[in-house]
């Protein structure tokens, strides 16, 4: 019995389903070995985590999509086509955003999903997202907002509290919606909230940003900052619902950028400057445990955190992102998510502000329910 048969055999017991999902995401060739029972485990999990398009694009890229059994293949082909349409729509929208900001001569940095599409990196392939995120230095924030409003974006109407929440405490203005295309745009002046305990200043990120070919005013974060931003997003925020996809993103970035020693050197410098040894260590641990991407010796130079809670934290994150559909433990996952939700909020805001914020959320939800 080879390793794959063994994986499929264990997949029939509940715990093993997760392993099978990670196997096909690590190397799409593993999908050729799946029997109908294997697909019955894998496909719902991929769908739950928005990763069906990713596997479909992997298989398509490797020329293997045609070799998947037709009953399953039609789901994958539809997901590949949807991913293609999504990327095309994002590129079109990027053109509009760029035109609006270039007219006002405001350079901007694309973040997350839109950046992956613009750079055509592996982490963006088959990935779905609802809004485009862009970053400008705070000094240009008002000018950027003005330029976008002139190009027919509008700021979502909010009550006084939510306006204060965004304008005073957060790292972005309230979400923008285009009046004709209904596309969503998040305009950031930083990658972490103003109130956050995590330090990740905008200036050095913008300074190191890489221009996007074909655009005069658009750039993306440099590879090491792209990776770091994804890590901070996953390990310092309160919402872990996209955890499976985010860890896969990190794996793809390591495979794509990690062969260049400069990536690891620059990442190590940032880790020290921004004091992010903990989150990067959790990320590296999870990616290695789940996907095991090849790591060059330079990767070993990342600073190691000296912390007693490193072990428990790793386990907490591992439980929190467990895909329950594949047999993960529901109660354990909920508890881990809850602890990390509390931690995320603690990192996001100082305690008095947090109490005020949670109090407002609880009471306003009640008021809404009574309406």
């Amino acid at each position: 019995m080879n390793a794959l048969d063994e994986a499929i055999a264990t997949a029939r017991t509940p715990r093993g389903g997760i392993g099978l999902v990670y196997d096909v995401l690590r190397d799409s060739r593993a999908a050729l070995q799946l029997d109908p029972a294997g697909w019955n485990l894998v496909l719902p999990v991929l769908r739950e985590h928005g990763l069906l398009g990713r596997l479909a694009c992997d298989l398509d890229g490797a020329g293997l999509l045609e070799r998947i059994d037709a009953a399953v293949g039609r789901h994958l082909t539809a997901a590949r086509d949807a991913a293609g349409r999504h990327a095309a729509a994002v590129r079109l929208e990027l053109g509009y955003v760029h035109r609006a900001l270039a007219e006002a001569d405001i350079p901007f940095v694309l973040l997350k999903g839109a950046a992956y599409v613009a750079r055509n990196v592996a982490a963006g392939r088959g990935r779905f997202f609802n809004d485009i995120d862009i970053l400008v230095p705070e000094a240009r924030l008002a000018a950027a907002e003005g330029a976008l409003l002139r190009a027919k974006w509008v700021v979502e109407e909010l009550d006084d509290y939510d306006t204060t929440y965004y304008r005073v405490w957060m790292h972005q203005i309230p979400p923008l919606v285009h009046t004709q295309r209904a596309s969503m745009l998040d305009l950031h002046h930083a990658v972490v909230p103003r109130t956050s305990r995590v330090r990740m200043p905008t200036a050095p990120l913008v300074e190191a940003a890489t221009p996007v070919p074909g655009f005069t005013h658009a750039s993306t974060l440099a590879p090491h900052d792209m990776f770091l931003h994804s890590v901070v997003h996953l390990f310092c925020e309160e919402d872990l619902s996209q955890g499976v996809r985010d860890v896969s993103d990190l794996d793809r970035m390591i495979r794509e950028f990690g062969q260049d020693d400069a990536f690891w050197e620059r990442l190590a410098t940032r880790v020290v400057d921004f004091d992010l040894a903990g989150p990067v260590a959790y990320a590296m641990h999870l990616v290695e445990a789940i996907y095991g991407p090849p790591l060059p010796p330079a990767a070993a130079r990342l600073p190691r955190p000296r912390s007693l809670i490193l072990g428990p934290m790793r386990r907490l994150f591992a439980h929190a992102i467990e895909p329950t559909l594949a047999g993960g433990h529901v109660g354990r996952k909920r508890f881990a998510r809850y602890l990390l939700y509390v931690r995320g909020h603690y990192l996001k805001m100082p305690l008095p502000l947090l109490i005020r914020h949670l109090w407002h959320k609880a009471t306003s939800r009640r008021a809404e329910a009574e309406k």
Binding site: P36, R47, E48, D69, H75, T77, A78, A82
Partner: protein, 315 residues
């Protein structure tokens, strides 16, 4: 015609209530296989009433397109009036419902999953039937009388392809079967409960649209069809109380727009949808039909199937 034979859900009825909450039960709807897991008491009986004659699917050896679950909602409310939740692929798209709506929730849930995932078809909000492999398509919003007409046509010898969905393949341009019960409202429900009581599911529920029940077409042993049909007639139907049967030919451009407006995924599929719909229109005759009397309407369709030229006769 290709059919699926073998054990049906009804033949496994004794295992059903044990398997439903544990491993789940899978069955075929024609072009899709679905499975349900549920710990809601009594759902096994409802399942048998609607899908009893459908082929049983073994998920250990066959791929299931859409696995869904209906479970009891947690929270303090369960002690007063138990509520249920629909889940599919980790998503819970609907608000909790009272337990008695479980069978209806299964129907909505399957429709929702198909409409959001089956994008290798152009999906029209339409009822589709066929006779000898040639299909009639009735696109239109609920309340136009298409489900009532289709039920009458099935009783007159037509074969159901699908009620809520027309599944038009993007690759071969054929219409694929999706065997689900037909939902009938108020008066239509009463009509068919009187005519064919054995084909009406033994419960109704109240929605914003009024009282709704299910007509279960059923089929003889070995007649469960999975073969597609060729689009032949596109009918824009309208129920007009008291009126005589009227029909007139509809310009293909009008029928095209009407079908596109009643599609779940036309704009999502873009050019592929345009190509598929144009091909469907090129193959079919399109006309407008107003009716009030079901016997008159079924006779019209019988003539249509026979010579295919009835739409040219005087209105």
């Amino acid at each position: 015609m290709r059919t699926i034979s073998g054990p049906t859900l009804a033949s496994a009825s004794r295992r059903l209530s044990a398997e439903l909450p544990s491993t789940g039960v899978a069955w075929s709807l024609g072009t899709f296989h679905v499975s349900l897991r549920s710990d809601v008491a009594g759902l096994a009986d409802s399942l048998l009433a609607i899908y009893g004659c459908h082929p049983l699917i073994d998920p250990r050896i066959e791929f299931v397109d859409f696995p869904v679950a209906i479970g009891r909602a947690v929270g303090p409310r369960r002690f007063i009036s138990p509520q249920i939740l629909f889940r599919a692929d980790g998503a819970e798209p609907f608000d909790p419902q009272p337990r008695k709506n479980a069978p209806a929730m299964l129907e909505w849930g399957l429709n929702w999953r198909i409409a959001t995932q089956g994008h290798w078809y152009l999906m029209l909000h339409a009822a589709t039937l066929h006779r000898d492999g040639r299909a009639a398509i009735f696109p239109g919003k609920p309340g136009t009388g298409k489900s009532t007409l289709c039920t009458a046509l099935i009783e007159d010898g037509w074969t159901l392809l699908s009620d809520e969905f027309a599944l038009l393949s993007l690759s071969d341009g054929l219409l694929y079967p999706l065997w689900k019960p037909i939902s009938l409202k108020e008066r239509a429900l009463d009509i068919f409960r009187e005519r064919v009581p054995e084909k009406i599911a033994p419960w109704t529920f109240h929605s914003t649209k009024g009282r709704i029940g299910f007509y279960v077409p059923g089929f003889a042993d070995g007649q469960f069809a999975v073969a597609p049909a060729i689009p032949a007639w596109v009918v824009m139907v309208s129920f007009e109380p008291g009126s005589r049967l009227r029909h007139e030919s509809l310009p293909k451009s009008d029928a095209f727009v009407h079908a596109a407006n009643n599609s779940f995924n036309y704009s999502l599929l873009g050019e592929a949808a345009f190509v598929a719909l144009r091909r469907m229109m090129a193959r079919s005759r399109s006309f407008y039909l107003a009716y009030s009397d079901l016997a008159e309407a079924t006779a019209f369709f019988a003539r249509l199937a026979e010579d295919g030229v009835a739409e040219h006769s005087a209105a």
